[in-house]
Subunit: 238 residues, 2 copies
DNA sequence: CATAACCACTTGTGCGGACGAGTTGGCGGA
DNA sequence: TCCGCCAACTCGTCCGCACAAGTGGTTATG
């Protein structure tokens, strides 16, 4: 099944402009092509181009001045932009060589607590290793209650090309609403150490994904080697 | 002469709906009138109504479900604030027994980089250990450029009862605007291990404090033992 | 009785056109 | 030279329309 995925046009316009900003083609301070020019270049209606530009302005990529033009501000930086390791785990597609193990296992205590089920209740576990170049850069384990996993491909050993979030959304219409992350420093488990090829300290991330009602859909446990990962965060002091 | 200033129509629609939500006329969970109904009731084009609804959705007031309707969520809540270890370091007062060392030292490389000064430039260093009960729970080191420290008590070995931030504000009118934190997992240094009484992995926090112009006022390095600290963070998934 | 087709609704996206208003630069007149 | 006006550009808003796509209930059909 190839879900052909056509993002809406206004999103395509946004991505085009974001790419040009990040590639340096549009440098900070530069004036963007005018709406009419973009309409001609991209072959779309003004409504579409304007919606893209207004959204980019709301997100802080550009600034629009009435009567003058639109100007590049740069990639928006704010606390909201912090790297969310758990989100990218849920979002990223899997590849065959990254998947380590998919199995039904009894929930270990800390996972059972996160999922609000009894200890040793059977749950689905997916474990994978992400790589940067040829070094293992993270071990990501996802734990899913059976009620959630039933009817999905989550318990099948094939890689989920579109990522867990999209899969759950497409197959069971489950929507992710918010995620709770707990960060800590710890020693890697024996298995993590083997997969990572090092027993240096890791940044441990325990995350739970919630639906709009607050119910837990799944839990994640990430091991990020300290030497390879830095989580940066900027915040205002009131 | 009061030029009568008419807010744009889409903003009027937004305000109307916001008011109805806050007055309780539209309660959380309720379905809003459909776009067509609003168009008729308010006498505007669908474009206008849709823009208002989409903006309200982006701001979190309502939720829109394709094919079903728009539903009230309530007044949007600003992001739940995460624990900021660096902020509490700057904020908390010191006590005599927590202060480990105050000295002028040449800036080590990573600190020099954070402060944008040359390596080995003399800077003021304050180091202290915080305790919970009788276990050491963190080692906090603050690095201050001489230009900032001059005229303050930062380089004096007496504890700053009101905390660094208040002291700098009171004595030199320096205002903290924002803080950048970088989190990582690492092994404690030998000294940190001694002070903490353990060589288990620590959560390393490197932070820089900036004034409103973005200039760096000071840098901090924190070592938080992994077993004692968890940083929790909740965030929305778009 | 179960199921499929259909219909009436909803929101999502997109188009072209229109007019308003702010900015800029050039052109002509005083 | 200096100043005011105006044309040509910019973005801001608004309209009516069209069609796609998702949802839920009703109705016809096996």
């Amino acid at each position: 099944m190839s879900m052909d995925f056509a993002p809406p046009k206004y999103a395509q316009v946004m991505r085009t402009i974001q790419d040009r900003i990040e590639s340096g083609e549009y440098a900070p301070g530069d004036m963007l092509p005018s709406e009419t020019q973009l309409v001609r270049e991209l072959g779309m209606g003004r409504t579409t181009v304007v919606r893209a530009l207004q959204t980019l302005a709301m997100q802080g990529w550009i600034e629009r001045e009435h009567g003058r033009g639109s100007f590049v501000k740069g990639r928006p930086d704010s606390g909201a932009d912090r790297v969310r390791p758990s989100l990218s785990t849920a979002e990223q597609g899997e590849s065959a060589d990254s998947l380590v193990e998919v199995a039904h296992v009894p929930a270990p205590r800390h996972v059972a607590r996160l999922l609000s089920v009894a200890e040793r209740t059977p749950v689905v576990m997916r474990k994978r290793v992400t790589r940067q170049g040829d070094v293992a850069s993270a071990v990501e384990t996802v734990w899913v209650p059976l009620e959630i996993a039933v009817g999905t491909d989550l318990d099948k050993p094939e890689p989920l090309r579109n990522g867990i979030r999209r899969h759950l959304q497409a197959v069971k219409h489950l929507r992710f609403d918010h995620i709770t992350e707990r960060l800590s420093a710890r020693k890697p488990t024996r298995e993590e150490a083997e997969l990572l090829g090092s027993s240096n300290p890791v940044l441990g991330v325990l995350a739970t994904v919630h639906d709009p009602a607050g119910a837990v859909l799944l839990a994640m446990s990430l091991a990020l080697p300290g030497g390879l990962h830095e989580l940066e965060d900027v915040f205002k002091v009131s």
